[in-house]
């Protein structure tokens, strides 16, 4: 155990934690915007899988991680259009539709993987490290802050961007309004369904991106159920973060660091055998604890999960 508490290992664990946090962060930021508009998407996990597989397969075929990234993004966007059609146009019950999307994503990606790839083949991920030149002579701090790949920086820059989008733009004002009181927005000529559809597409695109980052930056491979619950944890993070980007980021970092700590402890053989399985449950257990602690749901959009019709 004592080996864990060396500066080198702690730094490596934290650095890895930041990287592990990225898929949570992207998916949760997207889901937060969707929920601010009043739409719950329980299918984040499924969309992440579809984004992950699209990115993986495209990279495998074209040898270009950039094309892979783009395909992951587009797959998420496409799923967003489908989910918007189901929930906004058809007024389907959001909880159940989301579970359907998850099951579809899980089964469909596995099917395609078996059909098209068969056995896992590693791919070359996105290796660009834009800040690495700063990491070399800044020691541990440099390693912690500057050794990441470009997608990590993009993800963290999206935090203020999403904050700005929600609080400072007309679109953001519309999102907040249709999530709280869609009838009020409607009477002022705001297209409730249009704003909600846009928020859904944004959220799903982010989920697709999260899946792509998982493949291109972390795993560099694919397997059945690659996301292993990350999408569901991202939904929990939205509640944990009280629908605010900054707090969502704090939650994502917490989960990323817990994941990387478990990995480090396994690598150091501090935990092994059946204990590993229990340790792997850490994110799930943490999720439950977090949700119990923040059960008051202050800040929850009042119209969350409620389809909009004028006659209501």
């Amino acid at each position: 155990m004592s080996e864990f508490f060396t500066v080198a290992i702690l730094t490596a664990t934290l650095t890895s934690g930041i990287r592990q946090a990225v898929p949570y962060l992207l998916a949760a930021l997207g889901e937060a915007v969707s929920q601010r508009a009043g739409v719950l998407n329980l299918g984040v996990e499924g969309v992440m899988l579809i984004g992950a597989f699209s990115a993986y397969y495209a990279t495998l075929e074209t040898k270009s991680a950039a094309i892979g990234l783009l395909m992951g993004l587009l797959a998420g966007m496409f799923m967003g259009l489908i989910y918007a059609f189901i929930t906004v146009v058809m007024h389907a019950e959001q909880g159940i539709s989301g579970i359907g999307i998850y099951l579809f994503g899980l089964g469909f990606t596995d099917l395609l993987f078996q059909k098209q790839v068969g056995t896992p083949r590693p791919i070359q991920g996105l290796k660009t490290k834009p800040m690495n030149w700063l990491a070399e002579d800044t020691g541990r701090v440099g390693e912690l802050l500057f050794s990441h790949t470009i997608l990590t920086y993009v993800a963290f820059l999206l935090v203020p961007a999403v904050y700005w989008l929600v609080t400072r733009t007309t679109f953001g004002l519309n999102v907040r309004a249709v999530g709280e009181n869609p009838h009020a927005a409607d009477t002022l000529g705001v297209s409730v369904n249009g704003v909600r559809a846009a928020a859904i597409v944004f959220g799903n695109t982010m989920a697709g991106l999260a899946g792509a980052v998982l493949v291109l930056d972390i795993v560099q491979n694919f397997q059945q159920n690659l996301t292993a619950g990350r999408g569901f944890i991202a939904i929990a993070l939205v509640y944990f973060g009280a629908w605010r980007p900054l707090r969502v980021m704090a939650g994502a970092l917490l989960f990323g660091i817990v994941s990387s700590t478990v990995l480090t402890l396994q690598a150091l053989d501090v935990i092994s055998g059946s204990v590993t399985s229990i340790a792997n449950m850490a994110p799930a257990v943490l999720t439950v604890i977090v949700l119990v602690v923040v059960s008051r749901r202050i800040g929850q959009p009042a119209a969350l999960t409620k389809p909009f019709t004028r006659d209501a």
């Binding site: 309004a177 709280e180 705001v190």
Partner: protein
């Protein structure tokens, strides 16, 4: 004579199973207050929703400023200068006043610049004496302020024809006076107003023209100078209605309901009822007045055992308790007509018969050895349907299919027909038509005559004034004053309701 601003001709709107508007005409001149009067469900809201582009008419046409127009969405209505103050405010609670005003303005991806909006809000509020802080969040604001924010929202958009759907329902008398001043100012500027109300006194005061709707059709068109409250009521209901209530003199008996220094917390954990003490005697109606949200609901729920008592106690028929439960207070002799008849007073998907025995189904003769006696229930419910003239096809009809007034009669029949000596009655005629309200008031007076002790909670000041022996005014959870009926004036009560003592 000026040319009309708005002409709605022959408007017909059908919903599945109902004709909400049938051949309705409405003409509004600039500078005029045109009142739409009618019962709930008469079609007033449907008509103005058509005007605002929320519904499309099946037949008929609309012209604005002399040219025909198809108002296909609220955006179109706003574009030509039509504004609407909805009965349930269309404000986003978690946004500020300025943000609410900004909503729907500007391009999707542009920045929201609130600075000019704030400035304009201040100008407009100055001009019309509408005091509102542009940076206040809606959830922090009192009802009267929220309404001013709503009006500002419309004025900001240069509204020329403003529709007000029951704007006074939530206001205190002084606030109504203020609102009317603002409305006069708006018409003086040449704006047209469509005013919806069912309060006859107000209608007589503010209107230039009155169109009465009944069952979706225009049942009369008149002016205040040419009608009386009684004639308006007759047009609304379709038969003569008694508007005055007479309280026969009688001496109250012993105290039946006593509340001692009661304190109760509200939903947000703050004290909603503070140090409230009152007594209701046999054969007496005590009316609690106050603007909605000043602790009346919490008081009723505490007495009924639905909300924990923080401190103090209650006594029913001289049996004291500080930890009441609904079952216990009912056994002590309390009956309860809750303010939301559909949510707490009845179960919409139960039959009329089932709702009528909801408080008795666990007692013989309605249940024997755990099995419901359907024949006893049927007999009882038929009797009550007759006694309380509940208009229902039969006792097996689902309760939610009845009109509001008849659902309320179901609740009243169940609660009043038992042997309870104390009646706790909240908002008995809210959303009920004048005809049914007349009946419900008569029932309350009958119960009084039979020596029941009645605590009446209502936001309808006229109702409380007409029925009560004594008035208790609540403001921010505390009692502002207890006034015998003979000494009460609307002005004085209105001031107490706004917290001025």
């Amino acid at each position: 004579m000026q040319p009309p601003m708005l002409e709605m001709r022959n408007i017909t709107k059908r919903f599945p199973g109902v004709v909400a508007n049938e051949g309705v005409d409405l003409t509004v001149l600039p500078g005029q207050v045109h009142t739409l009067l009618g019962e709930n469900g008469a079609g007033k809201s449907t008509l103005v929703k058509i005007l605002y582009g929320l519904y499309q008419p099946d037949e008929g046409n609309i012209s604005f400023d002399g040219s025909p127009i198809n108002i296909d969405s609220p955006a179109t209505a706003i574009g030509i200068g039509i504004g609407m103050i909805h009965q349930h405010f269309m404000l986003v609670d978690t946004l500020t006043v300025a943000e609410n005003v900004a909503l729907g303005l500007g391009k999707q991806l542009s920045l929201t610049n609130l600075k000019p909006i704030r400035q304009r809000i201040e100008e407009v509020s100055e001009e019309f004496g509408l005091r509102v802080n542009p940076d206040a969040y809606i959830w922090q604001m009192a009802v009267g302020e929220r309404q001013r924010a709503e009006i500002l929202k419309a004025l900001y958009r240069n509204v020329r024809l403003l529709v007000l759907d029951e704007p006074t329902a939530v206001l205190t008398p002084p606030e109504v006076t203020d609102l009317f001043v603002t409305l006069k100012q708006l018409t003086a500027d040449g704006r047209g107003l469509v005013f919806i109300s069912h309060k006859l006194n107000e209608v007589m005061e503010i209107s230039d023209e009155i169109t009465v709707l009944r069952d979706g059709k225009v049942s009369g068109h008149t002016r205040p100078a040419e009608c009386t409250r009684e004639s308006l009521a007759t047009l609304m209901v379709g038969r003569p209605v008694e508007l005055t209530r007479t309280l026969e003199a009688q001496t109250p008996g012993t105290p039946k309901l006593e509340v001692h220094s009661l304190a109760v917390r509200g939903d947000r954990g703050k004290l909603a009822v503070e140090d409230v003490s009152l007594q209701v005697h046999a054969g007496e109606i005590v009316g609690i007045v106050g603007v909605s949200g000043n602790g009346q609901r919490e008081l009723a729920e505490a007495i009924m055992g639905l909300r924990e008592i923080e401190s103090g106690e209650i006594a029913i028929n001289s049996q004291q308790t500080s930890t009441p439960t609904p079952k216990q207070v009912r056994q002590m002799g309390l009956a309860y007509v809750p303010e939301e008849r559909m949510k707490y007073g009845s179960i919409g998907d139960f039959t009329v018969a089932e709702n009528l025995v909801l408080t008795d189904y666990n007692r013989p003769p309605y249940v024997r050895r755990g099995v419901l006696s359907l024949s006893a229930i049927e007999q009882r419910s038929k009797q009550l349907v007759d006694d309380y003239s509940i208009r229902t096809p039969n006792t097996q009809t689902l309760t939610r299919k009845l009109s509001g007034g008849n659902i309320q009669k179901v609740v009243l029949a169940r609660e009043f027909s038992g042997d309870a000596e104390v009646l706790l009655v909240a908002q008995p005629t809210r959303g009920v038509d004048i005809g049914a309200a007349e009946y419900i008031h008569q029932q309350l007076l009958t119960q009084r005559k039979q020596g029941k002790a009645i605590l009446l909670i209502s936001e309808d000041l006229d109702e409380v004034m007409a029925l009560s022996d004594r008035l208790v005014v609540m403001y921010e959870g505390a009692i502002m004053g207890q006034i015998p009926k003979q000494e009460a004036t609307t002005e004085q009560i209105g001031l107490l309701m706004s917290g001025v003592s």
